[in-house]
C-alpha cells in the first residue's frame, strides 16, 4: 500500500507506477524515452573497440529489434584492458571482434537479433546504411567517420559519432536532413591527418601512427553520452548539430553548437553561402 503522502519521483506517476519485474520495467519508467520505438529499432554500431564495446552493451540492454556490429579486426591481448566483451581466450584464438562481441551480447539479452559483419565499414554504401534507424560511429580514424557521415546523411539516417583520446572524449549528433554534419566540424588539421594516413594513390599509408591513449572510465563515460544521444534521437527528443566534449581532467562536459558550412562536401562545398546557418 502506498500512502498518498509518499512523494513519488518525478518520472513515476500513478498511471505508470508498476511493480512489474520485466526486463525493461525500470527503463520504461523514464518517460523521456519512447521505449516501444527504441525496441522496434535497428541499430548499427561501427567499431568494436573500447568505445564500441560500451555502446554495444548499452544498446543491447534497451532491447532493440536488431543490433548490428561492423568490425574487421581481431581481438588482441591489448584490447582486454578496455574491452569487456572480449575474453583472454578470444585474444588467444585471434577471434574477430564482431563475432566475439555478439557472443557476449547474446548472453546479456537473448531477445535481440544480433548480427556480426566482419568488414571495413567503408566497404558498405548508403543502401546498406539505409537499413538502420541509427548508426553509431565508434571508429578510430577520420576517413571512416567521413564515410559513415556522408552515407548516412544522404539517406537521412541519424549518425552519432564518438571519439576518444586519453582523458578527452567527443560525441557528435548528426540528424539529417537539417543540421550540421560531422564534416561541417572539420578543418585543415583534420585534412592533414587524412593526408598523413593515405598515400597519393589513395591507399592507406603504412606509416607509424601515434598510439592513442585509452582509459576505461573515459571510454565508458563517452560511450554513455553517445548511447544516450542515440536513444534520445530514436525517441524524437534530440536535435542534431550538436557536439559534446568531455574533459576527464576536470570532469567537465561542454555542449557545443555546430554550424552548417565550413569546408563540408555534404553541405555543398567550401563556405557555401546557401548553407550558412
Amino acid at each position: 500500500m502506498i500512502s498518498d503522502r509518499v512523494a513519488l519521483p518525478r518520472q513515476m506517476n500513478r498511471d505508470n507506477f508498476s511493480l512489474a519485474s520485466g526486463r525493461y520495467s525500470r527503463i520504461s519508467l523514464v518517460t523521456d524515452f519512447d521505449l516501444s520505438t527504441i525496441r522496434q529499432s535497428r541499430i548499427c554500431v561501427v567499431g568494436a573497440g573500447a568505445l564500441g564495446n560500451e555502446v554495444l552493451k548499452n544498446m543491447v540492454l534497451y532491447g532493440p529489434k536488431k543490433l548490428t556490429v561492423v568490425d574487421n579486426d581481431r581481438v588482441e591481448k591489448s584490447n582486454l584492458g578496455r574491452c569487456f566483451l572480449f575474453t583472454s581466450s578470444d585474444a588467444r584464438a585471434g577471434r574477430k571482434k564482431a563475432d566475439a562481441a555478439i557472443e557476449s551480447l547474446g548472453r546479456m539479452n537473448e531477445e535481440v537479433e544480433l548480427e556480426a559483419l566482419v568488414s571495413d565499414a567503408r566497404e558498405f554504401d548508403d543502401e546498406f546504411f539505409s537499413g538502420f534507424d541509427a548508426v553509431a560511429g565508434c571508429v578510430d580514424n577520420i576517413s571512416s567517420r567521413l564515410h559513415l557521415n556522408s552515407n548516412c546523411y544522404h539517406r537521412n539516417i541519424p549518425y552519432v559519432d564518438g571519439g576518444l583520446d586519453g582523458l578527452m572524449g567527443r560525441v557528435q549528433v548528426v540528424i539529417p536532413p537539417s543540421g550540421a554534419c560531422y564534416q561541417c566540424s572539420l578543418n585543415a588539421t583534420h585534412m592533414a591527418v587524412l593526408d598523413r594516413d593515405f598515400t597519393c594513390t589513395g591507399k592507406e599509408a603504412n606509416i607509424h601512427r601515434r598510439m592513442v591513449p585509452s582509459e576505461p572510465s573515459v571510454s565508458a563515460i563517452t560511450a554513455s553520452i553517445e548511447s544516450l544521444e542515440i536513444v534520445k534521437l530514436l525517441s524524437g527528443t534530440q536535435d542534431g548539430g550538436i557536439m559534446f566534449i568531455y574533459n576527464g581532467r576536470k570532469n567537465e562536459l561542454d555542449r557545443i553548437e555546430v554550424q552548417i558550412g565550413g569546408e563540408c562536401d555534404v553541405h555543398g562545398g567550401v563556405n557555401s553561402e546557401n548553407n550558412e546557418a
Binding site: 583520446d165 578527452m168 566534449i245
Partner: protein, 77 residues
C-alpha cells in the same frame, strides 16, 4: 584586436593580436605551433559555439577580448 586563446589540454592561455581578416585556421595553426602540440586534429570553440576555421575573425563575430578555446578532436575509438 586581441583574443585570448586557451589550451584545453594544459589549461594555459595566451593573448593573440589579430586582424578582423585573420582566418581562424591561421590562429589555430599558430596556437598548435606555439604550444608545440602533436600533429593531430584540433577544434576551436567560443563559448558554446564551434568556430569554423575557414572563417575570419570578423565573419565569426569575435571581438576584442573574446576567449576562444583550442580543443583536441579525439580520433581514437
Amino acid at each position: 584586436m586581441k583574443l585570448e586563446v586557451k589550451n584545453a589540454q594544459n589549461g594555459n592561455s595566451t593573448l593573440v593580436e589579430v586582424e578582423g581578416s585573420t582566418k581562424l585556421q591561421e590562429l589555430l595553426d599558430s596556437a598548435v605551433e606555439f604550444w608545440a602540440m602533436t600533429n593531430d586534429a584540433y577544434l576551436l570553440k567560443a563559448g558554446r559555439r564551434l568556430l569554423a576555421a575557414s572563417k575570419t575573425v570578423e565573419e565569426s563575430g569575435l571581438s576584442d577580448g573574446d576567449i576562444i578555446e583550442l580543443l583536441p578532436d579525439p580520433e581514437g575509438g
